[in-house]
Symmetry: C2
Subunit: 192 residues, 2 copies
């Protein structure tokens, strides 16, 4: 198992890196954030402990990297959705729906909630901020076409969306998620 070798060195390093992130995440899920150790991560990833230290300096960094990877994947989905045809309101709705579903489907023990606690917060928050920036752009567009309440800055509306839709993580069904999106859109002053 420790024999993790791919064709080229670069792809190999990426493979090992991914295995580390995967292992770290799995350990958080099954043993809890506080009890994850570098030793455990190395074992789970199938590499030596010293090797692990050549990739990441500590547990926190492993988890932060994992978080960043997740957010990046989400951003990719959402930006693709933003480019689709349709009015600003329609595209906004599509993106918010997709984000709610992402929150709904993501594994338990929230992928996102790291940000506030890891104290790498300032840096992880950056990834999160890309999300709010994406929302904000869409909101500005929608506001320009007069489909939105204009008594609140777009930045605040974006933050509202992000938090409100995070509630999807605790909902029981996709129907409930759809209702949540509807509620959230109503808050924006958008008739859907």
């Amino acid at each position: 198992m420790p024999k993790l070798w791919s064709e080229t060195i670069d792809t190999h390093r990426r493979t090992v890196r991914d295995a580390i992130l995967e292992a770290g995440w799995a350990l958080v899920s099954e043993r809890g954030l506080m009890s994850v150790t570098m030793t455990q991560i190395a074992e789970k990833a199938g590499i030596g402990r010293a090797t692990l230290y050549k990739y990441f300096p500590d547990v926190e960094t492993v988890l932060a990297a994992q978080h960043e990877r997740h957010v990046a994947a989400h951003l990719e989905q959402l930006t693709a959705l933003r480019e689709q045809p349709g009015g600003p309101a329609q595209r906004l709705k599509a993106v918010l729906e997709r984000y709610a579903l992402i929150c709904y489907h993501r594994e338990k023990h929230g992928t996102e909630e790291f940000a506030a606690l890891l104290h790498r917060g300032e840096h992880v928050a950056h990834a999160e901020q890309q999300l709010t920036a994406l929302f904000e752009e869409l909101l500005v567009e929608a506001a320009a076409s007069g489909e939105l309440r204009d008594d609140v800055p777009a930045e605040e509306l974006a933050s509202y969306c992000l938090h409100a839709l995070a509630a999807a993580g605790g909902l029981p069904t996709e129907q409930a998620v759809a209702r949540l999106v509807s509620i959230t859109l109503t808050g924006l002053g958008l008739s859907v």
Copy 2:
């Protein structure tokens, strides 16, 4: 400083316990969740390490207790507010406003976000659930008097409120918080 003695034993134990929780929280705030150790907590609290172990078995438990104490304090404020005179909608608005301000004022690195990560989650979530239960009751009352949208279960509305208002933690001013509350209420179908 280590001489933490109060009149009676019971009050003394409470004093020490509070000092521990305070110390734990301070360490999380300044050094980050991952680097807090029992040794540090004991030093900061001004007690011996062995003594600390007679109060709490590990760091996670200290933090969970601290979290529970915070939520309890919030609940006390909010239930007091719920008993006040006025129509259901008014009282709902008052409670939501208060909760938003609590989120706004609470120290950085979110008091609440522990729940999902500490893996004591199931138990801490109970405290959180008391909050949603409180919201839910108010929402049912308001719905009964026809001031609310009735196409969504109260439980989901409560979850929506809790998450949406959590956005107050990242807002710059109290005016922004007021706007957030307004948006959230609009989502509920409440005219304010």
